[in-house]
């Protein structure tokens, strides 16, 4: 099959040089780990190289021609990335990755909580004992540990929605209160594939006046996402999961909030006026981009957004969902395999986690690796979620636009082979 849901996969795979290589003694690579990091097409690699060969300079400094060209390339990428997620350019802050973006908000809130020398506009970000931050039990550590740390520093309390046996957020498990200052959650679980009820969680947060932060790492790369329409206050995602470079992430923040929020990292570029005694800050997004920023990475992410935009995010999502359906069907045909998370396509994205009775996830992963199949094994940086389901580790298959039905078939055959190898076939 060369086309799936309108995507000509075979033609498009030629754009990804790495997909043509072999692994483990000449076996074709079957890459089913795009949820960890995706592969990059030539268009992205070429854009980075062309920038470095023709236009490289430090952006937002200097008045020479290269500095102008580099700044134009950087800001043009920002504008295209912003349009891609339904935001204004001024609402897009470049960070190292999504983890840094989430920490940026956490530290800005921590800085606001110290309440010395900041204006009254920062008061809405301040926290203290009795205040609450609310997350869910399925969060990636990147959307859990920064909030634990913020609570430790401020005396606030961390609470969380629990997760049902089906892998959904149990909206009845806790009530938000007037003391809830922030609700932070994943758009899509990086383990279960569950898509969370963003609109309902936003509505509940609004009802108590809480801010909302969305971890969009597993959604923006795989489906159409319009952050403005979702109505969240902040969102973070990483370039390397969306066919773009590593070392570049985006923090989205509503313009009005970024304008009121104090900085996290300070130094060059983020200033308005500096005297020996004190400094005033630049408007956003520069206020949150201290130091010489990533440049070729930003240009590469701009090219990645162009690339997936040309294919169409609806088409990419449909393509992945066809693969998810095939994976769920295939795994259901193997005895002793249990999918952790939704077993149907309702409110679901392209990550499928499972366990094999009698065979540890590491051992399944090893047998798959020997067959050239790359999957993720372990707790996928969501350890509490694994505890919730009573498993130490799971195997996770995840996809992107270049993944094929043949690769899913290889996965299912490999899982069957792992059962046979470890002698658990009844």
């Amino acid at each position: 099959m060369t086309t799936l849901e309108g995507v000509n996969v075979q033609k498009l795979r030629a754009d990804f040089p790495i997909l043509a290589r072999t692994v483990r003694e000449g076996r074709p690579l079957v890459y089913l780990d795009s949820g960890a990091t995706s592969q990059r097409p030539r268009q992205v690699l070429d854009a980075e190289r062309a920038f470095l060969e023709q236009h490289n300079a430090a952006v937002h400094r200097g008045a020479h021609q290269l500095a102008e060209e580099a700044t134009d390339a950087y800001e043009s990428a920002r504008a295209r990335i912003a349009a891609f997620i339904g935001a204004d350019a001024g609402e897009v802050v470049f960070t190292k990755n999504a983890t840094e973006g989430i920490n940026l908000v956490a530290y800005a809130m921590g800085n606001s909580s110290i309440r010395t020398g900041l204006g009254p506009e920062s008061e809405r970000f301040a926290l203290g004992p009795g205040d609450e931050i609310v997350i869910t039990e399925l969060e990636h550590h990147a959307n859990l540990v920064p909030w634990q740390e913020l609570c430790r520093r401020t005396g606030a309390t961390l609470r969380w929605y629990s997760i049902t046996d089906e892998g959904r957020v149990d909206l009845d498990s806790i009530e938000l209160t007037e003391r809830t200052k922030l609700v932070a959650f994943a758009h899509q679980s990086n383990v279960l594939g569950t898509i969370l009820p963003v609109a309902e969680l936003v509505r509940r947060a609004r009802a108590v006046g809480a801010l909302v932060l969305l971890d969009a790492c597993q959604s923006v790369p795989h489906m159409p996402v319009h952050l403005g329409e979702l109505g969240v206050d902040f969102a973070g995602f990483s370039g390397h999961k969306m066919l773009g470079p590593s070392g570049i992430g985006v923090l989205y923040g509503r313009a009005e909030l970024l304008a009121a929020m104090p900085p996290f990292l300070t130094g060059g570029s983020m200033i308005e006026l500096v005297r020996m005694e004190r400094t005033t800050y630049a408007p956003p997004p520069q206020r949150f981009e201290a130091g010489v920023p990533m440049t070729s990475q930003v240009v590469g992410l701009g090219a990645a957004v162009d690339y997936v935009g040309d294919i169409g995010m609806d088409a990419i999502h449909s393509h992945e969902m066809a693969l998810v359906q095939q994976t769920l069907n295939g795994l259901a045909s193997v005895p002793g395999v249990r999918v952790i998370g939704p077993r149907d396509l309702v409110d679901r994205g392209g990550a499928v986690a499972f366990v094999v009775d009698g065979v540890h996830a590491h051992d399944v992963g090893q047998v798959l690796d020997d067959r050239g199949i790359a999957v993720r094994v372990g707790h996928h940086c969501a350890w509490p979620l694994h505890r919730r389901f009573g498993v130490a580790a799971t195997v996770r298959a995840s996809f992107h636009v270049y993944s094929t039905p043949d690769e899913v078939t290889a996965l299912v055959e490999g899982v069957q082979a792992a059962r046979e190898f470890f002698g658990v076939v009844s």
Binding site: H360, D363, Q366
Partner: protein, 156 residues
């Protein structure tokens, strides 16, 4: 990597289960995958008289703990730590270290694991627990019996 010896130990682990009495206990985790082991050591004078353990882990970590009990029970603490050093050297040797079967017995089967850097920690988990438990014995530390299970949450 999956030598028949490893699969045999995995299917029929030696010395598995937690036993009383014991002099010290160690709880170790592999933070990259969440695998766990609780391992107890009983000394008789200078000799390792029993090693008992409970694991939550892959075939490599379970088989490694089984081989460990074969290699250290009945030996002096000093000899056991020499075997441990040899096993560790092999496991971390990237496949370049030729193991000595006289020292490592069934442990030589883990030489193949050294070629898979991601799995080296699995092979070493039980051995690190053993090393830690020995240090915690009253004979070594001069302190009272230590039970680490209570501190699980603090470590993970």
């Amino acid at each position: 990597m999956y030598q028949e010896i490893i699969l045999d130990h995995y299917r029929t682990p030696h010395g598995a289960g937690l036993r009383e009495p014991f002099d010290a206990e160690s709880f170790q985790i592999n933070p990259t995958c969440g695998d766990e082991i609780t391992l107890r050591v009983k000394l008789d004078g200078d000799k390792v008289s029993d090693v008992s353990y409970e694991t939550l882990g892959c075939s490599i970590s379970q088989a490694s703990a089984s081989v460990l009990t074969d290699l250290v029970v009945g030996r002096s603490v000093e000899e056991s730590l020499r075997v441990l050093a040899a096993f560790q050297e092999m496991a971390q040797g990237r496949g370049q270290v030729e193991p000595d079967e006289d020292v490592l017995g069934d442990g030589v089967a883990f030489a193949g694991v050294a070629r898979y850097p991601a799995r080296v920690k699995c092979a070493l988990l039980g051995w690190m627990a053993f090393k830690d438990a020995v240090v915690r014995t009253p004979q070594s530390s001069g302190g009272a019996r230590t039970d680490t299970r209570d501190s699980e949450e603090a470590q993970s």
